[in-house]
């Protein structure tokens, strides 16, 4: 007998604190993905303020991002990703240098192997990245890196996966916790199940990390345009008076980061927040999760 069923399991995001651990790895395609209007910068700062060692893996060379031509963009974006991640207290950046926006046809298993190698080297307790199951993400690099990440986090724990790594003294390591982000305005693809509360200090770091990417954000032309539009309506923003277009652009972008952090906070009953899909350590064993929760004891 077939019984059709419909039920809604989804609930409002729950507050998640930092899981136990000490190493964070952020797996992303681009220089600026560590801090966007849909997440990460505040959470990364939360980890590093708590003493975690944090690494950024940038899979592409970012040659398309910016108005300076391929090679220059590549160089500027690398410099700015070092600056941005430094604002967040991260320890270092690995650039895999796959060609920006040309990642769809690259071998998935090769990219995955690079991530597995770095996971085995640093043994992160948490990986942050794009949601591999996000819908409508039209950026090929986001999709590709997320898909490689989805498997790398658990396959790094299997001794029959790239056993050549063990010649270097590395050992299998399965990543127990994952935070995934994606735009929530892209259809029904990504629905957050968790929010993390941010402090004022973490939001300030997020702002600084965001505007470190002057090659793509905080454009003086944007500030000029905003001011012209306001002027046409007889309006001004007092805080921007006397500032150069570049200074005004930085302020506007910082307000944007502040606004989105407040918005996510208000939606979840706190002052500042970011929202994620959070995967707990035994989520991949749904049949055992309840039993483990009830029967695991301290040593």
């Amino acid at each position: 007998m077939i019984i059709p069923v419909i039920s809604i399991f989804l609930m409002a995001p729950r507050m998640v604190n930092l899981p136990p651990g000490k190493v964070l790895m952020v797996l992303q395609p681009h220089h600026d993905d560590h801090t966007t209007d849909y997440g990460m910068g505040g959470l990364i700062a939360k980890f590093t303020e708590a003493g975690w060692e944090a690494w950024y893996v940038r899979a592409s060379n970012d040659e398309k991002d910016g108005a300076n031509g391929y090679a220059h963009n590549d160089m500027i974006n690398l410099r700015e990703s070092l600056a941005g991640t430094r604002e967040l207290g991260m320890k270092g950046v690995y650039s895999l240098n796959w060609r920006n926006d040309y990642m769809d046809p690259i071998p998935l298993n090769e990219l995955r192997e690079q991530l597995i190698l770095l996971i085995r080297k640093h043994r992160p307790d948490v990986v942050l990245g794009h949601d591999p199951w996000g819908h409508y993400d039209r950026n090929p690099d986001h999709r590709k890196v997320a898909r490689a990440e989805a498997e790398a986090v658990w396959m790094a724990g299997l001794s029959n996966v790239h056993p050549e790594h063990f010649e270097l003294g590395l050992k299998p390591h399965r990543v127990p916790y994952r935070f995934y982000k994606a735009r929530v305005d892209y259809g029904r693809g990504h629905e957050a199940n968790a929010f993390v509360e941010l402090t004022e200090s973490q939001v300030r770091k997020k702002q600084k990390a965001y505007v470190a990417h002057r090659n793509v954000y905080a454009s003086p032309a944007m500030a000029r345009s905003v001011r012209q539009q306001l002027e046409a309506q007889g309006l001004v923003i007092p805080e921007l008076e006397g500032k150069s277009d570049e200074e005004a652009a930085v302020m506007i972008e910082e307000w944007h980061m502040d606004w989105i952090s407040r918005k996510r906070g208000a939606e979840n009953g706190v002052r500042y927040a970011e929202i994620y899909w959070f995967a707990d350590e035994f989520d991949s064993l749904p049949g055992l999760k309840e039993y483990l929760g009830a029967n695991v004891v301290k040593k």
Binding site: E151, V161, P163
Partner: protein, 291 residues
Amino acid sequence: MRMLALFLLLAAGLWAKTILIVAADAPDFVLAAGGAVAAMIEAGDRAILVRVTNEDKDSYGLTAEETALRSRAECEQAAGILGIGKVVHLGYRAGELGGVSPTEIRDRILFQVRLHKPDVMFIPNPYAEYVEQLDRHYVGMAAEEARRAAALGNHQPPHEAVGLKTHHTPELYYYAQPVDPRRREPESTATFVPQPVVKDIARTFAKKVRAAQALKTSNHAMAMRVRERLEATGRRLPLLDTVDDASVAKLAELNVAGLAKIGAADSPYRMAEEFHYAGKDFQVPEKLRAK
């Protein structure tokens, strides 16, 4: 009386369905669909399992070759417990399907569809979210496509030369272990698309447990991974203080029981499995059905 028994036997044979199960790996199929398939077999249907990967990665302390060998034997044992009559091993290396042509996988499954002419297919749900083993996604995509392509004569024309006719499979079950929080949501209100269903597995639960326990290599790896994770964080699970055949079998049973409980949520059943089901009306618009 004898004639009646003979008639009933013949009738059962005529009405029996052929089920083709496509799986990336044995644990996924057994845990997500083993109970429902066993129930259909107990009711008289016959089943064939197409196992796409060789499962050479999922072990603890064994080489890939030894893992593949053991997993194959254990898969056949589990299939036998569920009553599956035949297992076809396609032999792709586990975890590597992201580097294999989807069309190649599709066409190998398509061959099996035309060979066995199933009435029902069980395939991994490629749209299930947060299923970390992407082999299951790739196999689901390939199998879904194979079901369609097997009915179209312009796919694999050489098949006709060897007597393989086109075949349409009228019923389709998409299975996945319950990690997708939106799995109970209907895909849409359209009549075309598979809808969520649950199937009672209380009668075949014990059989499913035994089939799951037969997958000793992957169960042992699961137990060791859980134990290592707990040890690394200053915790322990008393059941796994000693990891041996008995404790691993118990863990497998608990896993099946936990999954059955999740599957039965919001249903009239005590133990169940969840699917997306596309029945005979699949792809027939409602306005045309009356005609």
